[in-house]
């Protein structure tokens, strides 16, 4: 096999012992992704350690420079100028390197990639040069023609660049230059076509002509390969793909369709696939697979190149889609394309390094360097180089698979750098909102939220487990500290997102009770009650604390909504009625109204009480909310066996015992919430209520099991068990 390969190489362009394979990429019709494939193949081969020259001979519509290089940079010469100079006999003292652009490759790639663009296109100067070339071809035929000129260019490329591969982006259709590139210059032609009849027919006819075309005596027969591109979905038109397969006797490779590329003619990394299946990625995968198969050899380096291209692709998609590779479209948080660049080299001479992606600020100062370091590389050393040789604040180093390693100068010891706790790539907003974009601790994100970037609350919330799993204390405590009603409301909304019925996450039920009650009540009013996180939170409270079931709406196993006619929804309200009115209503700080099933907080009374007891109103409000909600749940909740509160009213004494038990359960819930500020507020309030200390003590000293057992008996209006008699008799007849 190796012998065959070596034999094949000898047939290629040989110049002074150099063997160069010339591969022309041809399509009969445009828009098949030909130029893109040339660019990707060139990059892949160069990253695999090969020496590559990419030549744009699509003179009438050049575009390879857009795919391989920064098109805004100035180029003055190109293939048109070199062909013209050859025909006019003026290129003798000029190096072809004047017309070539070295495409930057990552450090240690081993290969090289030079681009010879068509010229300074598009520009009037280029059009003039193209016109002169056409004129020269019509005149002075004794000085040779286009065949000699293109062969001269090929020979000069071989002499001056010593490449292993010359990749030609050939003109579409039937043109003289396209014919010469494919039949005279090429050792191999890659024919691209779509499934459209005209594309297939054109390629078939041209391929037949190419097989019959004369070759130079020193050339081997031309090899022709076929690629079927923009195949939307093999399942949609399987018969058409099967027909084409048959027509080309199965020797055809399929590349899937990518609408972003088709519409935008952009490099895959800049594509914007519009379908959820992310055709951009499958196209990229298929393309890399084809290249690796079509250009065998250097397997180890080729695999490394493949890993690098994949990784950079992942990073690019992440940056340009605002943090989600699977997002179908870029969002507002994404990096604008104008602030990202690929393959930028920093440093001079031997002491240089190439960033795979650089993100810039609005003044074009680098904000973040992203470099791929393969398995055998040292990410810390790579980061160290960037921090010592540049002023960039953030460096991201990644291996073939996320998460990325982020390094930052901020808070680093001495003049060094430190590895961050962040594992995703910062977006533009992070550089604006966070003092250190790599610091995504809860404290840093909360600070950002307080400084006017509330969206960072979402980041805190989104990283928490969805269903009932433990949430880190740091997260809950951090969010619970939010005083601002609007921020608190947003935190609750974010943590309620996606929650259905009883499926509450670990965050919402804690925040609902610990955040300012104004926010909690606003969210409860806004979300409604049935099937929301609020209902789930109340159900959790009823079950954990009272041993009751609260299920105003249940979802049956079949998915249908089932209304439990016996369970009424609890609603919440904040009243600004004066304390006197509140006292007159009997609730003082808040109350539960059985008639309407409302829990009402009296904000004025709460403020006044908090001021008098040196407490914060929000904490007094929260404990009042919990207390009154438990009273409501005790009334409307069902026993686990389904029994409801009896229709007959309790005796005054039984009501008093029940009140003491609710007090007990409130304290229990506050202990479970582990919020010292709420506990302090509750204890201060309790200390200031004489009956609690004096007459309720026997009940407050019960075990949890006994308290719940007593609660059930009182609630059912049944004859109390003998063990409760002495305790019951010790209670006053009324409050």
């Amino acid at each position: 096999m190796e012998g065959l390969r070596r034999g094949a190489r000898l047939s290629r362009f040989s110049q002074g012992g150099v063997s160069m394979e010339t591969v022309a990429f041809y399509s009969y019709k445009g828009g098949v992704g030909r130029t893109l494939l040339v660019a990707n193949t060139a990059q892949f081969l160069a990253l695999s350690g090969r020496r590559v020259v990419a030549l744009d001979l699509d003179l009438e519509a050049p575009g390879l420079h857009h795919k391989l290089w920064n098109p805004t940079a100035v180029t003055t010469r190109g293939a048109v100028d070199e062909l013209l100079a050859a025909l006019e006999g003026e290129q003798r003292d000029r190096s072809l390197r004047d017309a070539a652009i070295e495409v930057q490759l990552p450090s240690g790639s081993g290969g090289s990639l030079f681009l010879i663009p068509a010229g300074s296109a598009p520009s009037p100067a280029y059009w003039a040069a193209l016109e002169r070339l056409n004129h020269a071809l019509r005149a002075h035929r004794r000085n040779g023609g286009l065949p000699e000129a293109v062969l001269e260019l090929q020979a000069r490329i071989a002499e001056e660049f010593d490449p292993e591969f010359l990749l030609i982006d050939s003109r579409t259709g039937i043109t003289e230059l396209g014919g010469l590139a494919t039949s005279l210059l090429a050792d191999r032609v890659i024919c691209l076509m779509t499934t459209s009849p005209e594309s297939v027919e054109g390629i078939r006819v041209v391929a037949d002509a190419l097989r019959a075309a004369p070759r130079l005596a020193s050339q081997e027969p031309l090899r022709i390969e076929f690629l079927l591109t923009r195949v939307e979905n093999r399942l949609v038109r399987p018969h058409r793909v099967a027909e084409i397969f048959e027509e080309f006797e199965g020797s055809i490779t399929i590349l899937p369709h990518d609408p972003g590329l088709a519409n935008g003619e952009q490099v895959w990394r800049r594509s914007r696939p519009h379908d959820p299946e992310d055709a951009g990625m499958s196209l990229f995968q298929a393309t890399l697979g084809w290249i690796a198969k079509a250009f065998p050899g250097h397997e180890g380096q080729a695999a490394a190149a493949q890993r690098r291209m994949w990784a950079v692709c992942e990073a690019w998609l992440y940056l340009t889609r605002g943090g989600s590779r699977s997002s179908p479209l870029p969002n507002r948080s994404a990096w604008p394309l104008g602030r990202l660049r690929e393959g930028v080299r920093f440093g001079w001479a031997e002491n240089c390094r190439q960033a795979d992606i650089v993100a810039y600020d609005l003044n074009t100062q680098p904000l973040m360097i992203i470099e791929f370091v393969d398995d055998d590389g040292d990410p810390d050393a790579a980061a160290g180089w960037w921090f010592s040789e540049t002023q960039v604040p953030v460096v991201a180093v990644f291996d073939p698979y996320p998460p990325w390693r982020l390094y930052s100068r901020e808070h680093a010891p001495g003049s060094g750098f430190r590895l961050s706790n962040r594992r995703d790539l910062p977006l533009p907003r992070d550089f604006e909102a966070l003092p250190d974009p790599t610091d995504v601790s809860v404290g840093a994100l909360l600070d950002a939220a307080r400084r006017g970037y509330p969206e960072y609350l979402r980041r805190i919330v989104d990283e928490q487990p969805i269903v009932s799993e433990p949430v880190a204390d740091e997260v809950v405590d951090g969010l619970a500290c939010l005083d601002d009603i609007e921020l608190a409301r947003q935190a609750l909304e974010y943590s309620a997102f996606g929650v259905v019925g009883q499926e509450v996450n670990g965050l919402f039920p804690q925040l609902f009770w610990r955040l300012p009650p104004e926010a909690s009540i606003q969210v409860a009013q806004q979300l409604g009650h049935c099937g929301t996180a609020v209902a789930g939170t109340l159900a959790l409270l009823a079950q954990e604390t009272l041993g009751l079931r609260y299920q105003p709406d249940a979802i049956a196993e079949g998915g249908a909504e089932v209304r439990d006619p016996g369970t009424r929804s609890i609603s919440f309200e904040i009243s600004t009625a004066s304390p006197e009115m509140a006292v007159a209503s009997g609730g003082v700080l808040g109350e539960y109204r059985p008639g309407t099933n409302e829990v009402v907080l009296y904000s004025q009374a709460i403020k006044r009480c908090a001021g008098r007891l040196a407490l914060r109103a929000r904490h007094v409000g929260s404990v009042t909310l919990i207390h009154q909600t438990l009273r409501a749940l005790a009334r409307v909740g069902r026993d686990l066996d389904g029994r409801m509160w009896p229709e007959s009213e309790l005796t005054a004494k039984a009501a008093l015992v029940l009140e003491a038990l609710i007090h007990y359960f409130t304290h229990q819930h506050l202990v479970r919430l582990r919020d010292p500020k709420l506990l302090r507020a509750w204890e201060t309030l309790t200390d200031n209520r004489t009956p609690v200390r004096r007459t309720w003590k026997p009940i407050l000293d019960l075990s949890a099991e006994d308290a719940r057992s007593l609660f059930m008996e009182i609630r059912r209006g049944e004859e109390l068990a003998p063990r409760w008699r002495s305790l019951y008799d010790a209670m006053p007849e009324q409050s």
Binding site: R142, E148, A155, I174
Partner: protein, 148 residues
């Protein structure tokens, strides 16, 4: 022009015509005009007429034959020039110095091409290209590229 009409033109007349045609082609060449190639084709036509009515052993006949080959090459028609040269060189009466002149004309053409395409010349493929062009021209419209 019919054969009868051509034969009716005398050697002197042709001599005058070819002198004028050569002068015209040179002027167009100097000006870089695309019409120069056609002008050299005209010169070639007159030279071939002269060659047809003159003996290869004579001065006028020998000069006309060399001139016909040179003009054809100047028009860029290498394959045709090679056919002409082969025909004239087959004439036994053609003096040695004229044969050498024909060879020199081709050598000058090769040198000119080598000056224009030095890298290609170093590969040794210039001669191959000429054959390739002839072969492509022989295949005509069936070959891709169409204008080879």
């Amino acid at each position: 022009m019919t054969d009868t009409a051509a034969l009716a033109i005398s050697e002197d007349e042709l001599d005058t015509l070819v002198s004028i045609a050569i002068r015209r082609a040179e002027i167009l060449d100097d000006e870089g005009s695309p019409a120069a190639d056609d002008a050299w084709c005209e010169v070639s036509a007159y030279e071939q007429r002269l060659a047809a009515i003159t003996s290869p052993s004579g001065i006028a006949g020998g000069v006309a034959r060399v001139g016909a080959v040179r003009a054809t090459l100047a028009a860029g028609h290498r394959a045709e020039a090679e056919h002409l040269a082969a025909r004239y060189l087959a004439e036994s009466q053609l003096p040695a110095e004229r044969r050498a002149a024909v060879e020199r004309v081709f050598q000058e053409d090769r040198d000119r091409l080598a000056r224009h395409f030095p890298a290609l010349a170093r590969t040794g493929r210039l001669a191959e290209v000429a054959k390739w062009k002839a072969s492509a021209a022989a295949q005509g419209s069936r070959v891709f590229p169409r204008a080879a």
